[in-house]
């Protein structure tokens, strides 16, 4: 009977548990997490802030999840060390947890850049975990002036979460545009205009010169008074357990296509790893929930001896901000094809005869058909791509492919 151990209790862990249990009902599974909570969805913390979900509904899996999957949990305990030679995880309290197969799903943590005078800020917040959200929720009042450093996914989702509950939200970013990791220049501009209409104030191409008590001096010369500071400039993968055990780490933990690290019997998945992005042909950290699940599942399958290759991965993001939805995927290299129609902004990026990436803002209907073209690297000359340029449609596929999709089980 195999002993499976998972460090981490979020998306990749769930994928791993469900992957293991597809073929191994007998082995023991132990989940170790420093957070004391039942598995919850991290990206839902912004929806918790504005009441679109609550603690009960944001549970990522039902209450009986661990019981049904026969998982032992060690919650509120941090894993301090992996002894890869003797195959055990050492907990902070000195207890050793032996494993036959181990998954490291330690996620990432907010990056806090050095900033002049930051010590004068009473409680700088970050926005990643349930505890972060709970603490921020307690602190905000209708009179709060909130300063967010970072106009990326986390900073802006935080802004959405507190919009309407505070007096003012100011966002500062070093970049000359918002959401620079998922949008192109024109797309960023559109979304920025929308957010400004909702009351957000942006200082772009700007950064902190120094903090004073209750205000910040910016490099551009401006001064912004604030009551609450949220730092959301980026995240760093939690790779230390693996690197200290002698496993290879670049920007993230290095894994192969089976999600295996360079250490024997040690796998890794999710925000802590570097993945192969098929749209660029390069390794990068793809810190996104759907990919974390797929990697966790692949790891679980392999850990249980069920050798099932994973699906190809690439960046993908769906998000709404104050009523405006956008879906993006892949990389933005190659020939862009732009369609702007009223409130809709659509850009497709084609290279070497295949779709490499897309940006949809506004009308996002059926975007997954485009995602599928990227995933399968479908040669566009094998489909009636003309019929898909305006709207993703299955009619552009060959009759045979349509039959496969719609008239056969899969």
């Amino acid at each position: 009977m195999k002993r499976y151990v998972i460090i981490g209790n979020s998306t990749a862990a769930a994928g791993c548990i469900e992957g293991i249990r597809q073929s191994d009902r007998d082995g023991t599974v132990t989940v170790i997490s420093k957070e004391p909570y039942h598995i919850y969805s991290r990206p839902l913390i912004s929806y918790l802030m504005n009441g679109k979900t609550d603690l009960e509904r944001m549970k990522y899996r039902p209450d009986d999840f661990y019981q049904k999957n026969r998982v032992t949990t060690i919650l509120g305990q941090e894993a301090a060390k992996i002894d890869a030679q003797n195959q055990f995880v050492l907990l902070e309290n000195g207890q050793g947890i032996p494993y036959d197969e181990l998954l490291v799903a330690t996620g990432s943590r907010p990056f806090i850049p050095p900033m002049e005078g930051i010590k004068k800020v009473e409680h700088p917040f970050t926005f990643m975990t349930l505890d972060d959200a709970k603490q921020l929720q307690q602190k905000i009042t209708p009179d709060s002036r909130v300063l967010i450093i970072g106009a990326g996914l986390i900073g802006l989702k935080c802004a959405e979460g507190i919009l309407g509950q505070v007096k003012k939200i100011t966002v500062v970013d070093l970049s000359d545009r918002i959401l620079s990791s998922i949008l192109d220049v024109e797309g960023s501009k559109r979304v920025q205009e929308h957010l400004e209409e909702k009351g957000l104030v942006f200082y772009l191409s700007d950064s902190v010169l120094s903090f004073e008590a209750g205000s910040v001096a910016l490099k551009s010369g401006g001064t912004v008074p604030f009551d609450i500071l949220v730092i959301a400039v980026g995240v760093r993968p939690n790779t230390e357990l693996v690197s200290e055990a002698g496993g290879e780490v670049n920007r993230g933990i290095v894994i192969n296509s089976h999600c295996k690290t360079t250490l024997p019997h040690v796998y890794a998945a999710g925000d802590c790893v570097e993945s192969f992005d098929i749209t660029t042909g390069q390794n990068r950290v793809l810190a996104l929930l759907p990919n974390a699940y797929l990697q966790g599942e692949t790891a679980g399958l392999f850990m249980a001896g069920n050798e099932q290759e994973s699906l190809p991965l690439f960046p993908m993001n769906a998000m709404g901000l104050m009523g405006l939805h956008m879906i993006t995927a892949g990389s933005y290299e190659g020939e862009p094809m732009l369609i702007q129609d009223g409130d809709t902004y659509q850009k497709l990026f084609i290279r070497d005869g295949v779709l490499k990436g897309y940006i949809l803002i506004g009308d996002i209907k059926r975007a997954g058909i485009y995602t599928s073209l990227i995933r399968e690297q479908t040669p566009l000359d094998e489909i009636e791509f003309e019929q898909m340029k305006l709207h993703p449609q299955l009619i552009a596929l060959s009759k045979q492919k349509r039959k496969q999709v719609l008239a056969q089980p899969h």
Binding site: G15, S41, Y47, L289, K365, R366, A367, T371
Partner: protein, 142 residues
């Protein structure tokens, strides 16, 4: 497992399946109350192009990318059917991004909507299939 399968060559492009779907999910007792003067938001949608017509609804895949990618745990597999727990859905549209068939769409409220084979309403068996005049969609094992 029984699924809704498409016989493309039999589809007339009449879009009746869309009306039956909208009715089935309206919670109303008669079609006239459900549909008269209303803009419908069906979970099955017909694609038309020249002579080609066919209906698209959830394929209830055995390896569903929508379920695997769902950020809230709102999408689940129950006895092979992909179900939506509406109260858990926050409308992030990651499933719209993930579904290779474009079969999940924004709903009328904050949640998305998808075909649940009429298990989510009082009909219990796909009303779109019952209403199809030409067996262009069928509910069967394949």
């Amino acid at each position: 497992m029984k699924r809704v399968y498409v016989n493309e060559e039999w589809c007339l492009g009449c879009h009746l399946c869309e009306y039956y779907c909208a009715f089935a999910n309206s919670g109303k007792e008669s079609m006239i109350d459900a549909l008269k003067g209303e803009t419908i938001h069906p979970r099955i949608q017909v694609e038309d192009g020249g002579e080609i017509h066919f209906a698209v609804s959830c394929r209830h895949c055995t390896e569903p990318l929508c379920v695997k990618g769902c950020i809230s745990g709102a999408l689940t597999i129950e006895d092979g059917v992909i179900r939506l727990k509406e109260e858990k859905c926050v409308g992030c549209y990651t499933c719209v991004l993930s579904c290779p068939y474009g079969a999940i769409m924004p709903g009328e409220g904050k949640a998305v909507q998808k075909c649940e084979l009429c298990l989510n309403n009082t009909h219990g068996t796909p009303l779109c299939v019952q209403g199809c005049p030409n067996r262009a969609i069928v509910f069967e094992e394949r």
